[in-house]
Symmetry: C2
Subunit: 352 residues, 2 copies
C-alpha cells in the first residue's frame, strides 16, 4: 500500500473507524462506531421534519417524529459494516474512502419496524421497489444527488428492517448516525441503512439511482455492469493483544499465556466457527465461541495463546458462517473495492 | 502532500477529526469531537479505580469516583485542539498522526476543580512540578511508557484546570474521552489534558518524561532541544458552504448570497477579530463576531458573501486574538509538526 493521496487522507479523517480495542464492548460506545458520511451531516429541525411515505401506495403518510415514537417500539442490536471495509488493502487500490479493516460497529438501535408501516400505506399491485431518501446532498461521480438506496418490496416487507429514531435505551440518534431517523436493515452492508431519512417512495420499477446502479456494485472491470452489493460476508476481528507502538501500532506482548479475543459476524447467517493461527497461517485452531448481543449482531470469540517464544509472530483469525462461507486468506479485487473480507493479520513482538 | 504512508493512514483512521459541518454546533455532539488516542483506550473498572495524589504533599489522597463527584462541581465549555493539528500540510511532512486541520472540538466538561484538591493535599516546600499519569500504556520513540504530562505547580494552582468525570450535563465520560476521569486545562493543546487519569504526583524537580522532554516540543532540527508546546495559537475554521463532492470534498455553491459561518479560538486570550477573504487572500474583510459558549471556548463568526460570479473561488478565514497573535498565511515548519495555524483554504465552485 503506497502513495495514499491527499483526497484519500481527507476522507480517512472525515470518516471514522472502530479503534480495535473497542471490540471489547458487545455494544459499541457512542463515538466509537464506524462512520461513513457520503456528503455532509445535514442540519435537521425535528419539529418541522416529517417522514413522507408515498408513491405506489393506497394511503400516503406523513409522520412526525412523535407519531413514529408512539408506534410499536423495539430495540435491536445490529452489527453494521461499511461495504468498502478493507478496500485500501486491495492491489491496485481502488481510490475512495481507504478503509483498512475497521469500518465496523454494533449499536442497539431503537425504533419501529418498517414492514407494518409499509403495509399500512398499502403498496399497490404496481409496487416493485422501495426507495429511501436521505436529507444529505452532494455530488458523486459527477452526479448531484441526495443519498438514496432501495430495497425490493419483498426485501422491505420480509426483512427485520427498522426505522430507528434512537440508540441504546431510546436516546435520540446522534447527528452523525442519522438524526432524527434512519433505516436499519440487519445483515446488509452500511450503504443500505439510509441516514437522515425523510422520504420512502414505493416505485413501480427498479430504482436506477446512482448508489444503486453505479455505486455499490461488484464489478470486475469498468465496463462490467456488475452485481449489487447486498449482505455482509463473514469476518472475524481480533482485539490486538499487548500494548502498541504509537506510530506503527505494532504490538508488544510478554512471554506467557495470552488470551486472544475478538468478535465475528456475517450477514448470511450466524457465525459457526472462528479459527485462529498464531504462526502466520501455517496452522489453525478453533477459537471458543461466546455470546452475541442479539441475532443480528457479532459473536464473541476467544483463544488461549501460549506466547512461549520471544520474537516476531503473526496472528490471524478467520470466521465461517452457518451458510458455509469462509473468509479467504487473500483479497479478491473488484473495481469499487467492496466486500473485502480477507483475514486480519496482527504482527506481534513477544518479549521475554 | 504526497505519498502518505500506510502507518499514517492507519493513524488517520484510528484517530478522529471534526467533520467541518459540525462547526455548526457550539458544543460538539459526542462522537464528533476530535480524538487522539496515543496507545489503546484502557478498560477501567470504576468500582476499584482510585485517583491517587501523592509525592511532595503533606496529606496523600486516594479518592474514589464517588468521592470526586461529591466535591465542588462545575461544568465548563472548553475548546480543545490537538497540538499536531495541520501537521500533514507542512513540507516536508513530519511523519506522525497526519492531521489536516480538523483536530478540534468543544465539550462541556463536568468535574471538580484541580487547585482546591491540590491545596488540600498540601504541596511541600520542595514541590516544583505536578505530574499527571494516565492508565494508557504503549511504546513511543522506543520508550515503553504510560502517558504522562506535567504542569508546574504554579500552572496547576493558577489555571482553571478541571478534573472532569463527565461531559454535557453530568453524563459519565465516554471511554474515548478518558473514563472515568481526565484532566482538562483550558487554553492548552490537547496533550496536556491527560485521559484515564489515575495518579497525580507532586515532584521536587522538573518532569523529564517522554511526552514532556522529547515529544511536544517546538524544535527547528533534530538536535535542537526546543521549547515546550503549551497554549493554542489562534485559529479560525469555516463550515464549508454549499454541498461537497464525495471524493474531493470540493464545494459547489449556487450563485447568489451565501452566508459563511465558522468558529475561532485561541489559548492566549479571547478572539478579537476574524477576517474573511473570498478571492484567495488578495483582499480581506471583517467577519461579524458572535457568541462563545464560555470564556474558554470558541467564538462564532459569520460573513455575508455575495457569490455573484460563477467559477472557481478560494475562501480563507483568519483569526486574531486579544493578545495580538494573528494566523499566518503560510505554514511555519518544525520537526514535530506542532502548532501549525496557517489559514484554512476552502476551494469552492460557484454555479449559475
Amino acid at each position: 500500500m503506497e502513495g495514499i493521496t491527499a483526497d484519500e487522507l481527507q476522507l480517512a479523517h472525515r470518516n471514522s473507524a472502530l479503534p480495535l480495542e473497542a471490540l471489547r464492548w458487545p455494544i459499541t460506545p457512542v463515538g466509537l462506531h464506524y462512520l461513513l458520511i457520503h456528503y455532509d451531516i445535514p442540519a435537521v429541525d425535528p419539529a418541522s421534519w416529517r417522514l413522507e411515505l408515498g408513491g405506489c401506495v393506497e394511503r400516503p403518510l406523513a409522520l412526525s417524529l412523535d407519531e413514529l415514537q408512539r408506534r410499536e417500539r423495539l430495540t435491536m442490536p445490529v452489527t453494521m459494516e461499511c461495504a468498502g471495509n478493507g478496500r485500501a488493502r486491495m492491489d491496485p487500490r481502488p481510490v475512495s474512502q481507504p478503509w483498512l479493516g475497521e469500518a465496523i460497529g454494533t449499536a442497539a438501535w431503537t425504533g419501529t419496524p418498517l414492514a407494518p408501516l409499509l403495509r399500512e400505506a398499502g403498496p399497490t399491485d404496481a409496487a416493485v421497489d422501495v426507495v429511501f431518501t436521505g436529507l444529505d446532498r452532494g455530488v458523486e461521480g459527477g452526479v448531484p444527488q441526495a443519498y438514496e438506496r432501495s430495497l425490493t418490496l419483498d426485501e422491505a416487507l420480509g426483512s427485520d428492517a427498522l426505522l430507528a429514531w434512537g440508540i441504546g435505551d431510546g436516546v435520540p440518534l446522534p447527528p452523525q448516525h442519522g438524526f432524527p431517523l434512519r433505516l436499519v436493515v440487519p445483515g446488509w452492508y452500511g450503504m443500505t441503512n439510509v441516514k437522515w431519512l425523510h422520504r420512502i417512495t414505493v416505485a413501480d420499477r427498479p430504482f436506477e439511482g446512482y448508489q444503486q446502479a453505479r455505486g455499490y456494485r461488484m464489478r470486475t472491470s469498468e465496463d462490467d455492469p456488475g452485481t449489487p452489493v447486498t449482505r455482509m460476508v463473514p469476518r472475524a476481528l481480533m482485539q490486538p493483544p499487548g500494548v502498541p507502538d504509537f506510530m506503527t501500532r505494532r504490538r508488544f506482548v510478554d512471554v506467557g499465556p495470552c488470551l486472544l479475543q475478538g468478535r465475528a459476524w456475517s450477514g448470511h447467517g450466524p457465525i459457526a466457527r472462528v479459527e485462529v493461527s498464531t504462526d502466520g497461517g501455517a496452522t489453525w485452531a478453533d477459537a471458543e465461541l461466546g455470546d452475541a448481543p442479539g441475532p443480528h449482531a457479532w459473536r464473541a470469540w476467544s483463544y488461549r495463546w501460549d506466547a512461549a517464544s520471544a520474537g516476531e509472530h503473526e496472528l490471524l483469525c478467520r470466521a465461517t458462517d452457518a451458510a458455509g462461507n469462509v473468509q479467504p486468506l487473500e483479497e479478491a479485487w473488484n473495481v469499487g473495492g467492496y466486500a473485502n473480507n480477507a483475514v486480519q493479520r496482527v504482527p506481534v513482538t513477544v518479549e521475554a
